[in-house]
């Protein structure tokens, strides 16, 4: 394996001693095949054990290791060192408060995720004997793309609307709400609409499209949000122009 001297410029912040974050530079020999997360692990193990960051699976599934790498929201486990030249700048995910170094406070996202009820809401209780809730391949296909979200929050770091208006429910949570709304087994749309069809929901989105561009799982949250806008608009017309058809 060929080695290369990699220079990382990492944003550091210790809430107990620092008034504001500062960059710290590390230079480490790394194999070309490594990803940024490997380099951070190497630094933590051999150079600076105080460096803090989140990670878990190292295979783009857990969604923990999102960071800004050269200003772009990325999963550090999926960002190969060989794709970068010069000093690699590593910062915590944008638009989230910094807890320590590369660790952000994600409570806001978790709260919003709960608000949109990201789970199947059954219409009417069925006895176990009634069997499974069956679904055709076409019904599965309708929402399958949105099931790939790993809650990594890269879309929130890319979304300027979320940066400017933190009340915005945001791309991932609304996409997950859309995923369950599209599910033929679900009956929870009306409850979710209270959250996502509101001002702080889809109407805060101006279709920048950055969320879809950075999504590591190609979920296309921007598409989901526009579809929710269209359906919510149709709801409005139905309610105001055709009250007899209200369901």
């Amino acid at each position: 394996m060929s080695q290369r001297l990699v220079e990382l410029e990492v944003l550091r912040f210790n809430p107990e001693t620092d008034a504001e974050p500062t960059f710290q530079r590390y230079a480490v020999e790394c194999p070309e095949e490594w990803v940024v997360l490997d380099a951070l692990n190497h630094i933590k193990e051999t150079v600076d054990p105080t460096l803090s960051y989140r990670w878990s699976c190292h295979m783009a599934v857990c969604g923990s290791c999102g960071m800004m790498i050269n200003g772009e929201p990325k999963l550090s486990c999926k960002s190969f060192l060989r794709d970068y030249e010069g000093v690699i700048r590593v910062e915590p995910l944008a638009h989230f408060p910094i807890q320590r170094d590369l660790v952000t406070v994600i409570d806001d996202f978790v709260t919003k995720l709960k608000r949109v009820k990201p789970y199947l809401v059954a219409g009417e209780a069925r006895p176990v004997e009634a069997g499974e809730y069956r679904q055709t391949p076409a019904q599965l296909k309708t929402y399958k793309q949105y099931t790939l979200c790993i809650n990594c929050m890269l879309c929130y770091a890319a979304c300027p609307e979320y940066g400017l208006e933190p009340k915005f429910i945001g791309p991932a949570a609304i996409s997950l709400a859309h995923r369950y709304n599209l599910d033929s087994r679900d009956a929870g749309r009306e409850a979710r609409q209270q959250e996502i069809a509101a001002t702080e929901g889809v109407w805060e989105c101006s279709f920048v499209g950055a969320c879809s561009e950075v999504c590591p799982e190609h979920v296309d949250p921007a598409g989901a949000l526009q579809q929710v806008k269209i359906k919510s608009t149709l709801d409005w017309f139905r309610e105001h122009l055709m009250p007899w058809r209200r369901t």
Binding site: P15, P21, V105, P137, K141, L164, K229
Partner: protein, 130 residues
């Protein structure tokens, strides 16, 4: 939590300079100003038409001025960017599912361009260009 997290402020008026994709977005949004300006110009034209032959001919003459030509070229460029940038994102907003698959995005975008061309030709024919 006993310690206060650090909050990085987003610059309210210059945030779109932070990334090329934000600049692309703001350009798309700014195009509406030019579309609006042209719509206003058409309203002025209608008013002049209603005022009679003299007012209309003065309006047509004003349209031939160099400043007006520059304005029209700029508006055309922004209108094209406005149209293409919105057409290209239509498959996101209006996906069409047929059975187990989705209609390819390029078909949806292509349909928009086709309708655009047909409508433009219809307008030109009605205007007696051909």
């Amino acid at each position: 939590m006993t310690v206060k997290p650090y909050v990085r402020a987003v610059p309210r008026y210059t945030w779109f300079l932070a990334h090329s994709r934000y600049l692309r977005y703001i350009t798309r949004e700014v195009t509406c100003v030019f579309i609006g300006a042209y719509a206003f110009l058409m309203l002025v034209g209608l008013k002049r038409l209603a005022e009679g032959r003299e007012a209309w001919e003065a309006f047509v003459q004003a349209l031939a001025s160099p400043a007006s030509l520059v304005f029209h070229v700029a508006v055309l460029a922004f209108a094209l960017y406005h149209t293409t940038s919105w057409f290209n994102v239509t498959p996101k907003a209006m996906p069409i599912q047929l059975g187990d698959g989705f209609v390819p995005g390029r078909v949806i975008v292509g349909a928009h361009y086709a309708i655009w061309i047909v409508l433009s030709l219809a307008v030109l024919i009605l205007a007696g260009v051909f």
